[in-house]
């Protein structure tokens, strides 16, 4: 019940500060839309780079949103009270990550087809793209939570987070792109999706434990 009220609260906060989530999606779409200007409007070339562009920009968009995961609660004392509450801190982390994913990951998935069409990506690959993002973006939120928790209280935390988190994002990026590439080239997509699911399961276990340990440290 406690975990549910944390999710409900974070969703309510995100809903009342809609511009935050909207900025992330806007960043995602605008950054991706810059690529055709950079690499030229050749349709086949754009279709080839589409999966990579979508994944890299989605990853950067999630990175941008990580700061609001814990920082506001850390600064106003809410995090201390959550740490002292009967809800185990691990579940608190999981609840906050879930709310974070629902307010960044889901909107990004919804916006991805727009970019895919902009890049002339064949429509048959869209379901695989959505499925890969559905398995991959929760991992981005989970791993990002560790980085966000570790950098609380550090000066220039905003610069540190990418340094900590980006290397850990690479497996998700690789298999996320290769799943869509496989769909485009007519190869089986299942192995790639299974690998994405495997990474998700590992981070589902590691992130709450590591995140909670980092938050305890930050609260000292």
């Amino acid at each position: 019940m406690g975990t549910g009220s944390i999710i409900a609260r974070d969703l309510k906060l995100a809903l009342r500060q809609r511009s935050d989530a909207a900025m992330i999606v806007l960043f995602f779409v605008l950054t991706a839309a810059l690529f055709p200007f950079g690499v030229g409007p050749e349709a086949n070339q754009l279709a080839t780079i589409a999966p990579g562009v979508i994944w890299v920009t989605a990853l950067l968009a999630v990175l941008l949103s990580l700061e609001r995961l814990f920082l506001a609660d850390y600064e106003d004392g809410s995090l201390e009270l959550m740490a002292l509450s009967p809800v185990p801190l691990e579940f608190t982390v999981l609840a906050k990550v879930l709310a974070h994913w629902m307010t960044t990951g889901l909107p990004l998935i919804a916006a991805a087809p727009l970019i895919a069409i902009l890049f002339n990506m064949p429509v048959d690959a869209l379901p695989v793209l959505a499925l890969a993002m559905l398995l991959g973006t929760p991992t981005l939120s989970l791993i990002g939570a560790i980085g966000a928790a570790l950098t609380l209280g550090a000066r220039r935390g905003g610069v540190l987070v990418p340094l900590l988190v980006l290397p850990l994002y690479i497996p998700t990026l690789i298999f996320g792109v290769s799943a869509v590439d496989a769909a485009l080239l007519g190869f089986p997509v299942r192995p790639h999706l299974l690998l994405l699911a495997g990474i998700l399961l590992i981070s589902l276990v590691v992130s709450p434990l590591a995140g909670a340990a980092a938050l305890r440290q930050a609260n000292e």
Binding site: R9, L13, R16, E80, L81, S85, P86, P88, N219, E220
Partner: protein, 223 residues
Amino acid sequence: MPAFEGQNLACTRAGRRIFAALEFTVPEGGALILLGANGSGKSSLLRMLAGLLAPAGGALHWDGKAVEDDPEAFQDNICYIGHGNAIKAVLTVHENLAFWSKLYPPTASEGLEELLDRALETFSLTSLRDVPGRQLSSGQSRRLALARLVTSPARIWLLDEPSVGLDDVSLKRLETAIAEQRAEGGIVIAATHTPLDIPDAGLLQLQNFAPPAFDPEMLENSW
């Protein structure tokens, strides 16, 4: 008789010893006021009692049992009001308080809504019920933070400068709330600079436990 005791407590922050060999006992229904200059470790001691900060030495006992044996069970007895008011700017007064009281499930027999109304009434926030947190003055924010005391089922209140920004009327209400908590056998430990009228409260001068200005051991460690 449940009592809250600290034995031989020591605190180190960033390699610097803040206090050492600190002892205190608060009996059931008792109160303890922490006194000391800025930086003497009042907040650190409260955070240590709340379980946010691990003691560098010593032990805490609650009800005859060592706290470190089961820290999570002990934390159910704690209501901690720190420096931060933990108020969200975009949530209303009622929503802010409702969230915290859901996170710390009250044991009271009355329903949640009645409890929240009573808590808001206690710190005269009823008229501000639907005002968003960002519009509160600093004193009103403090009162909203203190309203958590009423909804909390905790036996031990840890208050860090609870009276900052409060007007005279609110100060009286806080004193009444503290008296009621103690009458029910609760314990109140508060750090304060402003005079807070808590009858026959124990006083703990943190300066008495400060390490000597020249500490040969620290000097040795710094080589």
